[in-house]
Symmetry: none
DNA sequence: GCCGGCCAACTGGTAATACCACTTGACCAA
DNA sequence: TTGGTCAAGTGGTATTACCAGTTGGCCGGC
């Protein structure tokens, strides 16, 4: 019984999503003026306060600028999640956002696992175990174990004792909130796949508990490699 | 005539600032429930819609969580620079900020160099060379070649073709702005040390240009290891 | 013709109010 | 103990109104 938590997304978020999409798709180019709050409310069939709430959310995100008495203007999207970090040189091989992230995690988290195997003590190992337990608990509740999954990877980073690495892993994980990612999550969301992920997690934990640095690195590499492949099939299905 | 633009900060921002301060000062500890929207409006002397707008701004920033029918709750402040990322478990080996960062860079940038050796093409190699030239130019001007140094490491990350890795390297570099770091920079700032760093950079570049992945990794490790030691002597001198 | 000021239309800013849906906890009955 | 109901409190949304700022056109004067 795959109950997915009933979560009536609040109106202002739905409105913000729509406007965000319109800006992203070039419907409202950077610098252009959007319709007035009243017009937006009318066109969207919602009240003006709701539109205002959505606009404030977008303003905080830095997507639009509100000028009193003048109107609402779309802004340059300087700080796109990650991809927009185009350097002075053209990219070598363009890779879509989610896959970029997974490759980066492959590189970084494998080394984290290797390091953790050297530095982790009992409390750290227990913390990782607890994350696995939470993951399993979520799965028994027929929920996608996203919380436990995240916790597992963070705990390993924490076990390195290096706050900067924790911050990096956390940062990469935050990127999973993008819309593209969420579509892929759905393809990923089957009990069989999650069970596979859980088993791979256990292998990583086992290597860390055994202080086997090379094995921990290899296990994490295997895990993220599989995740990459699983996403890839989901990607193909989307097209 | 230092006119500062008359900018009547919008009400919702003022309200958000106040609440943000209260959360930051521990008045509303993480997890605690804030007064209801109606109470906040009454206490602040503003209307409820304005309070709602402020709360939505804070919600987008990740400072509070709004639960329908229940109330508003202060959240953990996860996103502080780096150090405040105290995990649920006590750190293994406490390490001061700058050394944490260098260790993290050691792990991550070594792999970046190894990857770059595989993926870099001529334009990327030339971009790295340009960064070295800039570094050398700054040194001839008797300046600490911070700009060129940063550029060198960023160019290597860009040469991997992975935007996420670029973002990570950039993020770690930003942390160099801390006060503690700057004190150390002074100790680091001698022509002899910078010349050593430049030579190490060249070794990395040579390996990447030669498509030698393992050598690139080793060269970068050597470089950051030396940086670590140089900082360490500076650290001892401080005490 | 050109410049200045005025004014009206439009825009966002804020407030007040009302009603709905949800959560919570107390209370009560089986 | 269990479950159910119910009322109070909470956030969600809509409606309405009015204020204050911006904008652009109009019209007078120079």
């Amino acid at each position: 019984m795959p109950f997915q938590s009933i979560e009536p997304r609040r109106l202002y978020r739905q409105i913000a999503d729509q406007i965000r999409t319109l800006i992203g798709s070039g419907e409202f180019p950077a610098g252009s003026r959007l319709p007035s709050e009243r017009d937006l409310a009318k066109q969207l069939g919602v009240s003006r306060p709701s539109v205002r709430e959505a606009l404030i959310a977008l303003e905080v995100e830095g997507l639009v600028e509100v000028r009193i008495g003048s109107g609402i203007y779309a802004l340059e999207q300087a700080g796109k999640p990650v991809a927009a970090t185009a350097g002075a040189v053209e990219p070598v091989e363009a890779e879509a956002g989610p896959f970029e992230l997974l490759r980066a995690r492959y590189v970084i988290e494998s080394e984290c696992a290797a390091l953790a195997a050297k530095t982790a003590r009992k409390p750290q190992v227990q913390a990782i175990e607890a994350a696995l337990d939470e993951m399993q608990g979520e799965m028994q509740g027929a929920q996608p174990p996203l919380g436990g999954d995240r916790l597992f990877h963070l705990r390993i980073a924490e076990a390195t004792g290096n706050g900067a690495l924790v911050a990096v892993v956390k940062m990469l994980w935050e990127e999973r909130t993008g819309p593209l990612y969420q579509q892929l999550e759905e393809h990923y969301d089957s009990p069989a796949l999650w069970n596979a992920a859980l088993a791979e997690h256990r292998a990583v934990l086992k290597a860390i508990a055994a202080r086997d640095s090379a094995a921990a690195r290899a296990a994490m590499q295997r895990h993220l490699n599989h995740a990459y492949k699983r996403f890839n099939t989901g990607w193909d299905n989307l097209k």
